[in-house]
């Protein structure tokens, strides 16, 4: 119904306009288009300004204040940023965030690529496997965290049970300051694998059989074909995953909040979790938390810029 009205409107319009001189007609219609465009955009822009830009600007101002949101908030210049330089927990949080990102991003991409290649063929029940792989994305973080807490429980978990069967001594996992972060890496790789699989599967479907067949005829083995033909053709997908997963890794929060609360002994405190602790998590130090947020923003900006610049050299786009 709606469509028909729209089509009718489009048909009527040129006849209407024909009565006017050509130049004025053009001007009038362009101005009309402008107004129409803005009218359509206004609600969306208003919402983005209100809920997107306003908080971003406000937190920039907050980062220059000492604020607990309730009493007056004096401007303190760059004191919050200077405090970060001397805060040992910030240094730890940066280290944990970097270690986490360095393990999580390649880990997820490798597991995702492996599963996608394994599933990119016509075998029986393939849809079941594909659904199972993607199900990790559909499961809520809370259930994911609960399951992993039990899997890695030092006394009752199945992982220690299996370790025991093959003669590895009992591990403390989430109770151990030296192991907890790695448990979270495994937990999040599991959670994000489905996403990587879907992206790589879609990209693999786009690799033309002509090219791989041609490579085979030229005498390339399966590994050489994968390495020299398939992988370069997957590079746009790889760059997308690299950027997307890195941004998400640098903002890790949910899994830490649910499983370790940054502990034991700050060993899983990452930047966003520390930011939360400093603000709504009990610190009520909103100026300082905003400064940490802006610091993280700059890091993400730099990382992404580097990735795109380096990516330009290695990513192969097919025209």
């Amino acid at each position: 119904m709606l469509e028909r009205v729209a089509v009718g409107a489009r048909v009527r319009r040129p006849q209407e306009l024909r009565r006017q001189p050509a130049a004025r007609r053009k001007l009038r219609s362009r101005a009309g288009e402008q107004v129409a465009a803005w009218a359509f955009l206004t609600p969306g822009v208003a919402v983005i300004l209100l809920f997107g830009v306003a908080p971003i600007v406000w937190s920039a101002i907050l980062s220059l204040q000492r604020s607990n949101l309730s009493s007056s908030s004096p401007f303190v210049g760059l004191a919050n940023y200077r405090q970060m330089l001397h805060d040992p927990v910030v240094a730890q949080a940066i280290e944990h965030t970097v270690v986490y990102t360095a393990l999580f991003v390649p880990g997820t991409m490798l597991v995702g690529l492996f599963l996608a290649v394994a599933m990119n063929r016509k075998i029986r029940f393939i849809n079941v496997y594909r659904t199972a792989a993607y199900a990790t994305m559909a499961i809520s973080t809370i259930s994911e965290a609960l399951v992993f807490i039990w899997l890695f429980d030092p006394s009752y978990g199945i992982v220690n049970y299996l370790f025991n069967r093959v003669g590895i001594p009992q591990q403390q996992f989430l109770n151990s300051p030296s192991e907890a972060l790695y448990v979270i890496v495994i937990m999040t790789i599991w959670g994000w694998t489905g996403f990587a699989v879907v992206v790589y599967l879609a990209a693999l479907q786009g690799v033309p059989a002509v090219l791989t067949e041609a490579a085979a005829i030229d005498g390339a083995g399966r590994w050489a074909t994968f390495r020299r033909v398939t992988l370069p053709l997957l590079s746009p997908a790889s760059l997308f995953l690299l950027v997307w997963l890195t941004i998400n890794a640098l903002q890790l929060f949910d899994e830490v909040y649910l499983s370790t609360a940054g502990g034991p002994l700050n060993s899983t405190t990452v930047l966003v979790y520390y930011l939360y602790q400093q603000s709504f998590g009990g610190g009520f130090n909103f100026g300082y938390a905003s400064a940490i947020a802006y610091f993280l923003f700059v890091i993400i900006l730099i990382f992404t810029a580097i990735q795109f610049r380096v990516g330009r050299r290695y990513v192969h786009y097919r025209s």
């Binding site: 949101l69 039990w150 300051p177 609360a261 502990g263």
Partner: protein
């Protein structure tokens, strides 16, 4: 009109901003007053009943209630106050009282609680302490609880142990925990929550007080826990966690209850809120053990929460005060306890005839928690820097429990950090 959709879109935007602006115009009580609370289940039903009872009797001062998760209430209140749209009444955790006291819109209730008929001293001392910040009453008690020992009767019998008596000691607790531990059956004597949050900290604070120690000095200007009492309390925990390995360490703050309910843990130091989660085991409840030779005796720690009033004009403040005094008066408090199993917020509720029997029938063991309210002798320091102090103490306790440091070293380092935090807090 050439472009009717243009006016529609603009009108929608204008209307949206207009509606937002309307929220701040509230002078009288005719538009209804608002409560923010986080009740669910039985508590929500009982509270709804009481509010509707009030609304029937006071048609010009009607209250409506909005569910706000208690864990988020302070951040939400701070943002609401910033935008001028604060509720009239809100339920706020007691540990946030010092932060709440800093909000200019929070109503000072010091004179209100002295009105005739309120009987302020009828509230437990732990509650009154937490409702008072720097001599100013900022809230009316909404909930009270405390820590006691919940033990598995079957496991005690299997180990050939006598159930704990009311005059037991921490040495007996440690010996029982050791006897109840059985690595082959993956059975632990006791458990401790180790996320390093306030939940980790307040369990230890009870031990510190029982050993005769204090968290801060009497003027709240310096750490006082780096003392023989502090050492004794941490050594007790260390013996069980590190030497005897009789203590299950739970970094998630949630598993210990399931494990106790499946008969894997012999004793828990916990509060009345956990009792309903133990339907599968035969449990008993006993007050906390003591450290003989100290003047601490049997103590416990209480985590009371408060009702707080926000200023939205004098008529609304007056109505909110009247409502809260009614809600927390003995008849309403009795109704609420009996229908929820929550501990009575007033001593007179406990004293009313048949009350304890009725409570215990609904939730076995809760009577011990009720009488344990008499062992609440002190409260945590009421300082805006307390959250920071809590974080330092949490790290101290966890590092000892994980065997990473000695109690002596942990106490000394934590005391130094707490002193620095207090100094930084008071200078700002």
């Amino acid at each position: 009109m050439r472009h009717p959709w243009l006016s529609v879109a603009l009108a929608a935007v204008v209307a949206a901003f207009g509606l937002a602006a309307c929220g701040s115009g509230n002078a009288g009580t005719s538009s209804g007053l608002q409560i923010w609370e986080g009740y669910t289940g039985a508590e929500a039903n009982a509270f709804k009943h009481l509010v509707s009872e009030w609304n029937k009797a006071h048609p010009t001062e009607k209250f409506t209630s909005l569910y706000v998760n208690n864990d988020d209430s302070l951040p939400k209140l701070l943002t609401a106050v910033k935008g001028g749209s604060q509720p009239d009444v809100a339920y706020v955790y007691g540990s946030w009282a010092p932060n709440v006291a800093q909000i200019p819109q929070v109503v000072n209730l010091t004179k209100v609680v002295q009105r005739p008929g309120v009987n302020w001293d009828d509230f437990w001392v732990g509650e009154r302490d937490v409702a008072t910040v720097n001599g100013k009453v900022i809230g009316i008690p909404a909930l009270v609880d405390n820590l006691a020992v919940v033990y598995n009767k079957t496991l005690f019998a299997q180990a050939g142990l006598q159930p704990p008596s009311a005059n037991w000691t921490w040495n007996q607790f440690m010996a029982d925990a050791k006897a109840l531990t059985n690595p082959a059956k993956k059975q632990f004597g006791t458990a401790y929550v180790t996320p390093g949050t306030e939940d980790t900290v307040w369990h230890w604070e009870a031990l510190l007080w029982e050993a005769g120690g204090e968290i801060l000095n009497s003027t709240n200007t310096k750490a006082a826990f780096d003392s023989p009492a502090g050492l004794k309390s941490l050594q007790t925990l260390q013996t069980m966690a590190v030497t005897d390995k009789s203590m299950y360490l739970d970094p998630t703050d949630s598993e210990y209850a399931n494990l106790f309910n499946s008969g894997r843990i012999g004793m828990l130091v916990t509060g009345p809120w956990d009792l309903s989660g133990f339907p599968n085991v035969k449990y008993g409840v006993q007050i906390m053990p003591s450290f003989p030779g100290t003047d601490g005796g049997h103590q416990t720690i209480s985590g009371p929460d408060n009702w707080v009033i926000f200023n939205n004009g004098s008529a609304r403040v007056a109505a909110a005060e009247k409502f809260l005094l009614w809600l927390t008066a003995t008849p309403q408090a009795t109704y609420f306890s009996l229908h929820t199993g929550d501990l009575p917020i007033r001593r007179s509720v406990e004293d009313s005839p048949g009350f304890l029997q009725q409570m215990d029938k609904a939730l076995p063991g809760v009577d011990t928690f009720v009488s344990n309210l008499n062992n609440v002798k002190q409260a945590r320091p009421q300082l805006p820097t307390y959250p920071k102090i809590s974080t330092i103490l949490g790290t101290m306790i966890v590092s000892v429990l994980l065997g990473k440091t000695t109690p002596q070293a942990a106490l000394a380092s934590a005391a130094q950090q707490v002193n620095a935090a207090i100094a930084a807090g008071s200078s700002g």
